[in-house]
């Protein structure tokens, strides 16, 4: 019972981004306190600001913004209204302005008309900025995937940033982007109006990672769990965190991807392996989780391939290594027939069977067409390419127990060519 509850608590925490990122709330040099200071200052001093949050995906840009907005809504009730746009959805200027008008109408309980022209909508936006400024209200624009807003003439960004410096309005424009050169994408008259505040979100350092793990895995005292169990659980976690093997696991994990979201995914896997009788986390669980995280999809795809499919792949590889850049099903079949003639294997299949295997490979994206242009051509004449490197193919062949020995030789040894 207690273990179930503990698992429940841990899982809930891992999925709650605001809890995860609250680990870094207290540091004064952190992005959280800087951004919060910026926004709340903007509110109290009634001015305008614009800021760009940059950093790789999974570093908590959006989560920190959400967290701060939630807190500020409590701190300054009724004052803040938030408009959220996403570059993937609203990169078209007219549509973005319409969406802004819609969200503002929703927020202020006004009636919204879909029929209004984009001029009306942008005028409405300017009017709203002004009126809200007069009423000490603040509009926060959150533009996710900021880089996508910079396509085209950037009318939206221009009118937003221009309104911010000509009107007595109170607004903050927060741009979120994973492109580090996002501010260079702005046109120069837009860039001149942008205030060039940039906050950089970086992946975790080793110490931060340790802190995050402690923050996430230790059970709280005040939960309705038996205190003895909590104590045991926490000391167990402490042991695991101090273990050398665990550190190795963590190193392997973070050597690929050391962002917070990746760590959380890993932990979610790991706690699912919790030992149920004792209700404790185990090192094996973390090991298993690591192997879950380290899937190699290309090799997995090779696992289920049939012998004939391997033959086709090997043929393609041989053709490719002969500097023959473009080949289609027919040239592959020629190579296949040549091999069959030379070695007289038992795997000699008819043309139509081979075509089916070929189509199968295309579906699994182990091979792909060179281009999408010649759609009208039937499959066997369209040029294809191999997406596997020879090392991967070699590894795949080796791990497959049914694979005939001749295939490996064909793949690797010069004399068989």
């Amino acid at each position: 019972m207690a273990s179930e509850k503990a698992l429940d608590c841990l899982r809930r925490r891992l999925c709650d981004s605001s809890f995860v990122y609250s680990a870094f709330k207290s540091t004064p040099a952190g992005n959280y306190s800087k951004l919060k200071f910026l926004i709340s200052n903007t509110i109290t001093e009634a001015c305008n600001n614009s800021v760009l949050l940059l950093g790789p995906r999974g570093c908590g840009k959006g989560a920190v913004v959400d967290m701060i907005l939630e807190e500020l809504k409590d701190e300054f009730p009724e004052i803040i209204s938030v408009v959220r746009l996403n570059g993937l959805l609203h990169s078209d200027d007219n549509f973005a302005v319409k969406e802004i008008a819609r969200q503002l109408c929703m927020e202020h309980k006004l009636l919204f008309s879909k029929m209004a022209s984009s001029d009306d909508n942008s005028q409405f936006m300017i009017d709203m900025l002004r009126e809200c400024g007069l009423a000490h209200k603040m509009i926060i624009f959150v533009l996710e995937e900021f880089d996508l807003f910079t396509q085209g003439k950037q009318r939206l960004l221009y009118s937003l940033l221009d309104a911010m410096q000509t009107l007595t309005s109170q607004s903050v424009v927060i741009g979120i982007s994973c492109r580090l050169d996002a501010d260079q994408l702005l046109e120069k008259r837009v860039r001149s109006r942008f205030s060039h505040r940039k906050l950089l979100f970086t992946p975790l350092s080793t110490e931060d990672m340790q802190r995050l793990l402690e923050h996430l895995l230790y059970l709280p005292k005040n939960l309705s769990l038996p205190s003895k169990y909590v104590k045991e659980f926490n000391s167990n976690v402490n042991n695991i965190l101090g273990d050398k093997k665990f550190k190795e696991i963590l190193d392997v994990l973070s050597s690929v991807d050391n962002t917070i979201s990746n760590i959380c995914r890993f932990l979610y896997h790991a706690i699912s392996w919790m030992h149920f009788e004792s209700g404790l986390l185990t090192l094996d669980g973390f090991k298993n989780a690591l192997s879950c995280m380290q899937r190699q999809p290309m090799l997995d795809k090779l696992q289920g391939a049939s012998i004939l499919e391997f033959y086709i792949l090997v043929c393609m590889n041989r053709l490719g290594s002969r500097e023959q850049n473009s080949f289609n099903f027919n040239s592959i079949m020629k190579e296949y027939k040549a091999i069959q003639d030379a070695y007289k294997t038992s795997d000699n299949y008819s043309w139509s069977v081979c075509l089916r295997a070929f189509e199968h490979l295309i579906e699994r994206e182990l091979i792909s067409f060179l281009d999408n242009r010649m759609r009208s051509l039937s499959i066997e004449y369209r040029p294809v390419r191999l997406l596997l490197s020879s090392q991967e193919l070699h590894q795949g062949l080796k791990s497959n127990s049914f694979c005939p020995a001749i295939l490996l030789k064909l793949l690797n040894h010069e004399s068989y060519r």
Binding site: F37, C47, L110, D119, F124, H136, D181, R193, L299
Partner: protein, 735 residues
């Protein structure tokens, strides 16, 4: 239809005004009267009952006729202690607003003290003691001034909107009420000043009879400057919406620097034709009433973002309560500096652009003052942030005052921004709307404008004035066949056009990009706004920070030198300074917080100036790309991948590498340095992540081994970032 009053006044309002309003004629009756009557005569100024009342004045209004009447209406206040009026100097308590003779106080004061002063009674009351106020000697009634009566809601205050004489000889006025904080739904707030009033959007017509006399309601700036205006001074910063019970700052209070101009505007309006003006006004009022009455049926409600709905919908926006942080906060030097450095805070004067201003003034004057008023064009270019638009607007503002003084012919002014138009053709519509107030489609607008400018037909009844057309971001109007630009620049060449076009854009050679027939019509008159040099930037910043001691001298110079070297963009210079001030403020507040929580130490006293370090950090923020930081903190494999790319770049000299090749290099690097062999798909993932951040440029990951990759930053940056990496020391071998 219900009567106007009850519709305007929701039932819940606490004020009892609706029931006991001063004799207001039944609105339907007045309307009927208006129709029958030949004419009401409207006045701008009216001498009535010994006082002169003007439109826009504020007056006390009697609550009802039978109110207990203090026969003598004291103009001056009595001393609270000796109850004499006396001519000697009195001082006012900032809490209870009671007046005291300086000599009556214990101990007597010699002169009025600086800052706030609170009387001993209030002081004692605050300490929780019971206070006995001195009572006046027998036989002397305690008289109340009009101010006291108003603040205890026995009198009203109102602003005169219009004055007229009915055909039957009685004088009437339309007034706009003020309310005291107690009469709003929010009640009196702790931050309300004692003399604070709110302007409402509640109008009514009352008879001149009920007006008592003048009072003076002032906006915050006037209020701060006023010192000897007597007892009838009030403070008004907010508007109160009686329908929505919400507060909003008064618009003219908000743009403080436009105060003078706002005044001018009003003069303009009234100088036209006061009669028709007020008629319009009342129509508008009726309109609102009509709108309110149909409010209950939601089908008739207009969408807020549509054109008609905008006027009404935005009434709803407003605060239920004015937040305290706005009023109770006293800005520190740093905060004041920050607010002065805001881009919105337009300076009173424009430093460093006198030459250009003169030139533009000359151009416009030359064009307008000639008898024929030939059309002309001017093209202004310069990099962003050099004050092009602001200079032109300042010039036009200055000219406006000249027009007001009668030194110049009146003209109309239309401002268009190319980037704010949804399509270039819409400019016709915008221009026509600005000139006539009507909205039509752009094709029709084009036709009318063509007629207007080439044949000199008139819009409306009045004579055509010369028109100044300012087009910002001119380059956005460039269409494929350039017909929009052709039309715009063709109009000024017509003999009767009276059109003056000023185009603003960034590029110097824009006219050369136009078709020859356009650039020939555009003429050769151009004006270049060069980028500011560092002295000018310094002057701009210092002019804004005059009187605020927040920046070190060399800090400003450093900032302006940096910006001048990079772009000469004034906006950027201001932003850097603001950013630096913010950083200093942040540091200071963190310090305060930590010292408060830890040691309860008093803050290190002394000046906290914005120094070189802050500026340096801000400059770094603006001009530095963050990629080195990201490279330093990225994962182990991505570091290895970057190093391998640099290695390959040096080895082969080609900047592009396929994923297959790169992966083999990485694996060989790893095996020779006893690293764990990374999987192919892991490498692919890392490559895609780096590509997403644009540290490397790569094709989509679906291409897998054939994906081509390339460094997006110079290899030296990568080498710099990874050379001293403590985790993977062997990387430096390959860089």
């Amino acid at each position: 239809m219900k009567s106007k009053r009850s519709l305007l006044e929701p039932e819940k309002t606490p004020s009892k005004r609706s029931s006991v309003a001063p004799a207001t004629p039944n609105p339907s009756e007045t309307r009927k009267k208006r129709r029958n009557a030949k004419k009401r005569s409207y006045y701008k100024k009216l001498a009535y009952d010994g006082g002169v009342f003007e439109v826009g004045d504020d007056v006390y209004v009697k609550r009802r006729d039978d109110a207990e009447s203090d026969e003598d209406d004291p103009e001056a206040e009595e001393c609270r202690i000796c109850f004499e009026i006396g001519s000697s100097i009195m001082i006012e308590c900032d809490d209870c607003l009671g007046g005291f003779h300086l000599r009556c106080l214990k101990p007597p004061l010699r002169k009025v003290p600086e800052g706030d002063w609170i009387c001993e009674f209030c002081k004692a009351r605050k300490l929780g003691k019971k206070v006995k106020l001195p009572r006046p000697s027998d036989g002397k009634k305690l008289r109340r001034t009009a101010r006291e009566k108003l603040l205890s809601s026995d009198l009203w205050a109102a602003r005169i909107e219009s004055l007229w004489k009915e055909p039957d000889g009685t004088y009437w006025l339309k007034c706009r009420w003020y309310v005291i904080p107690e009469e709003t739904t929010a009640g009196r707030q702790p931050h309300n000043l004692r003399r604070e009033l709110y302007l409402t959007n509640h109008f009514s017509d009352i008879e001149m009879e009920s007006v008592v006399r003048h009072c003076y309601v002032m906006n915050p700036r006037e209020f701060a400057e006023a010192n000897n205006e007597g007892d009838d001074v009030f403070y008004c910063e907010y508007e109160y919406d009686v329908r929505w019970h919400s507060f909003k700052r008064l618009a003219e209070v908000a743009d403080t620097d436009n105060d003078e101009e706002a005044g001018n505007d009003e003069d303009w309006k009234y100088s036209n034709d006061s009669d028709c003006d007020s008629e319009d006004d009342s129509d508008f009022d009726d309109d609102i009433v009509g709108k309110f009455s149909c409010h209950d049926t939601p089908t008739h409600e207009l969408a807020a973002n549509s054109r008609r709905g905008r006027i009404f919908g935005l009434h709803k926006i407003g605060l239920k309560k004015i937040p305290e942080h706005v009023r109770l906060h006293k800005p520190t030097d740093l905060e004041r500096a920050k607010s002065m450095l805001l881009l919105t805070a337009l300076p009173k004067t424009l430093p460093c652009r006198t030459k250009e201003m003169e030139e533009i003034t000359l151009f416009i004057k030359g064009a307008i003052c000639e008898d024929h008023c030939l059309g002309r064009c001017l093209y202004i270019h310069g990099v962003p942030g050099t004050g092009k638009t602001m200079t032109v607007l300042t010039v036009l503002k200055n000219l406006r005052t000249e027009v007001d003084a009668g030194k110049m012919r009146p003209y109309c002014f239309v401002e268009v921004n190319g980037l704010k138009l949804s399509s270039p053709e819409n400019i016709y519509r915008v221009i026509y709307e600005a000139l006539s107030g009507h909205r039509v489609g752009w094709k029709k607008a084009l036709n009318i404008l063509n007629e207007l400018f080439s044949e000199g037909t008139k819009i409306g009844k009045e004579e055509n004035r010369p028109c100044v057309l300012l087009i910002d971001e001119l380059d956005l109007l460039l269409t494929r066949n350039q017909s929009v630009l052709y039309n715009i620049f063709d109009w000024p060449t017509k003999p009767d056009s009276k059109l003056i076009v000023i185009g603003i854009a960034n590029t110097m050679d824009l006219p050369e990009k136009f078709l020859p027939r356009i650039s020939s019509r555009m003429g050769i008159q151009r004006l270049c706004f060069g980028p500011y040099n560092y002295q000018q930037l310094q002057e701009i910043i210092e002019s804004r920070l005059k009187g605020i001691d927040a920046f070190e001298e060399q800090a400003i110079e450093f900032a302006s030198r940096k910006v001048a070297a990079m772009s000469g963009d004034a906006r950027r210079a201001l932003e850097i300074c603001r950013r630096a001030a913010e950083a200093a403020d942040y540091r200071l507040k963190q310090l305060a917080k930590s010292s408060k929580s830890n040691l309860r130490q008093s803050l290190p006293q002394g000046k906290h100036l914005v120094g070189m370090n802050d500026i340096e950090a801000a400059v770094h923020d603006v001009f530095q790309a963050p990629h080195i930081q990201i490279m330093k903190t990225s994962s182990r494999l991505s570091k290895i991948m970057l190093a391998a790319m640099v290695h390959e770049l040096y080895r082969s000299g080609l900047c592009e590498v396929t994923f297959e090749k790169l992966a083999t290099i990485i694996r060989s690097l790893c095996s020779s340095n006893r690293e764990l062999q990374p999987g192919w798909d892991d490498l692919l993932k890392v490559g895609c992540k780096l590509g997403e951040c644009r540290i490397i440029l790569s094709e989509e990951g679906a291409k897998h081994r054939l994906q081509r990759m390339q460094l997006n930053f110079p290899s030296d940056d990568v080498a710099f970032a990874l050379k001293a990496c403590p985790e993977i020391p062997w990387l430096s071998k390959y860089l």
